[in-house]
Assembly symmetry: none
Homo-oligomer: 401 residues x 2
């Protein structure tokens, strides 16, 4: 069931405001079976106050046991079935560095590599060339001119960069040129379907000119291309929900994901406090606000339990400033769990809290992994969070008479 | 969504061991509204100890309200959607007596019947002929020779036996020859699709020769054929999960079901204690162990509440020997409920317990129908148990970047 069939049909506009605060990787694990999680350890008076007037549940990012990356994790929260909508590797890479892909664009992840005198790959990562050296080389490749398409080349990190082809009739089904081995040359770009023949031709022309431009290099004198991908065809928030949506994020990846569903990227905040400043400034211009807080995830990935606890407390501290704005619906959630015990994204359901004046409070007094299991939202797939948000905002009409 | 698309793509191999202990028909009912279930009545100190460090949930075998047979019940636990994968009656009957069906085989359930002088059925079950008399007759039918196919005839019980045709190009879509009535002759085998014409011809040739071989019999002088079915095409545990799997069961049905998903049938245990011996002996040869305990179901089907309680206590008693092996993931579940109150398989969710060092314990202190409702796994469809097992074993990579 594509729930957007319902939200498209039932969406209703009003003056309500919805705020979704996403603490990335929020869910955690105790360090011992009888211990507390990061969220249970943190002092979170403001979240607990919300728990007393809100309704909680445990959000399953994709399906039981499936640990999502940032892409599927956020698509779920945005109400796009993460199993239905896939973001190809090249498109995610481009999105992750903040490149705004247009419909029809094809993005590719590229690696600089070292070729020997016979043209065979001797180092697939060009000796992990440092970014200071590789970025100017990527920018040099912008001089390449292609017939029938615009070209964008964006440095990433070390040996990695991104290429985007923009033009008419470009399919994304081109095979990787990286042979995943040394001692052989990069493969020639080959289309897997007729619609991608033009893309394969562009990739070949790009490669030939790049070889010329890199011919003075010792280490980064070649390149491989992987994960050709068109921009995913995601309907916009305006279309599926009738919401003017704003994203207030610090990191490019999350701005990119939000822009794929048609959110405006608002402000240039560098801290959570500045993100809330931007929220206040743009309050009258949008119906929906996605605010992304990164450090609950990065501290979890570092395996730093105590630092994740502290970051959760930072997150808690900004709640009063959000409540001052009196949003009609306030949601606290995460795109997945990142237990510091695992130092990685995990499958564990994410504590999720929704507050509105018609949310049917469930009588809980604390926001945590354990509390949310008793919550009124039960365990639910993340993709239903947006319908719940719209309903609580009075933005969904009755289904059937 | 076929979750095997995900597990095939994300499966990761490591040294972990997963043990799934299945107490058949585990879930029960109280005898009065304020009473306790069989599991709640039983003294289960070892299961309760696991509850304190594990995570519980209520497993829905198929869908709410649907009571499964052993086939769908186990397919769900094995992670095969029981609504997607059907085991035809003939194939289940063959599997149930431990016959190892090969891809392409067609199995049929047959009944001896009594034919009158005009060839009409006068008794559809040959007077419920006792097994001592019917088994030699079934074996006599092995003398039949068919052109273009091998034949297997296996006695079952009383009037029942199983026939398997093995050859090239045998479809399974042949109509029952049992007219479900007396006073009429058995029907001629008829194919429902062109692919099954050869099977229908074989069935007819088998029938004609069988009539000859049974012509000296008074009661069992005819036969009917029902439930023609090919071997179900189930992908293997190795394919879908990357697991080398072992089944340690006493009864043929469960060995058969396990072999359909590619598990090795290990040992020749006759008791639960011997099953654990086999588990220990084969510990280093497999990644996954399915251990089937029958008597929680059979006592439930007998309507013997107290005996089911005792059998649950037997089951509890072997837990320490399993824990001694330090499995990375230990699961306790059942394929369905068999409340002694109903004397039958039922739809009630099954208490399920998973223990691993990253399971996110839910703080429960008892394993029971009532406790599991508060558990961290919530109510979930049984088919997701294997993804949870793999995730807890560190055997699933992240979905999407």
């Amino acid at each position: 069931m594509d729930v957007h069939l319902l939200t498209r049909a039932l969406q209703t506009r009003n003056e309500s405001k919805i705020v979704m605060l996403v603490a990335d990787g929020l869910g955690g694990l105790p360090q011992t079976p009888d211990g507390k999680t990061e969220l249970e350890t943190a002092a979170t008076p403001h979240l607990d106050a919300l728990a007393r007037i809100g309704i909680q549940g445990a959000s399953i990012p994709v399906l039981p046991g499936i640990s999502p990356g940032s892409g599927p994790g956020h698509l779920g929260l945005f109400g796009y079935d993460p199993l239905q909508y896939l973001i190809g590797r090249g498109a995610l890479e481009a999105t992750g560095i903040g490149f705004s892909m247009q419909p029809g664009d094809v993005a590719v992840r590229c690696n600089f590599c070292t070729l020997d005198a016979r043209g065979n790959i001797s180092d697939r990562r060009a000796g992990r060339i440092p970014t200071e050296q590789s970025a100017p080389l990527a920018i040099r490749l912008r001089d390449i001119s292609l017939e029938g398409a615009d070209l964008f080349v964006e440095p990433v990190k070390e040996h990695r960069f991104v290429v985007v082809f923009r033009g008419q009739g470009l399919g994304g089904d081109v095979r990787d040129t990286d042979p995943q081995a040394t001692g052989v040359p990069p493969r020639v770009p080959q289309a897997s379907d007729p619609e991608s023949q033009k893309t394969a031709n562009l990739a070949r022309a790009f490669y030939d000119q790049a070889r010329e431009l890199l011919s003075d290099q010792k280490r980064a004198n070649g390149l491989t291309m992987r994960g050709f991908a068109v921009r995913p065809n995601l309907p916009s928030y305006e279309d599926v929900y009738g919401l003017r949506a704003a994203a207030i994020a610090v990191y490019p990846m999350y701005k990119g994901l939000a822009s794929l569903v048609g959110m405006d990227i608002v402000g240039e905040a560098q801290t959570l406090a500045q993100q809330i400043d931007v929220l206040r400034e743009s309050w009258h211009d949008y119906d929906f606000f996605f605010i992304h807080f990164k450090y609950t995830d990065s501290t979890g990935e570092d395996g730093n339990f105590n630092e994740k606890v502290r970051r959760i407390e930072d997150f808690d501290a900004i709640i009063p400033r959000v409540r001052d704005l009196r949003p009609d619906v306030l949601i606290i959630t995460g795109d997945h769990s990142t237990p510091s015990f695992l130092k990685n994204h995990s499958w564990h359901p994410v504590p999720t809290l929704l507050v509105s004046d018609c949310c049917r409070p469930d009588g809980l007094t604390e926001f945590s992994e354990r509390a949310c299991l008793q919550g009124g939202l039960g365990q639910f797939e993340a993709k239903y969070l947006m319908t719940l948000a719209l309903a609580n905002a009075g933005r969904l009409a009755k289904y059937g008479a």
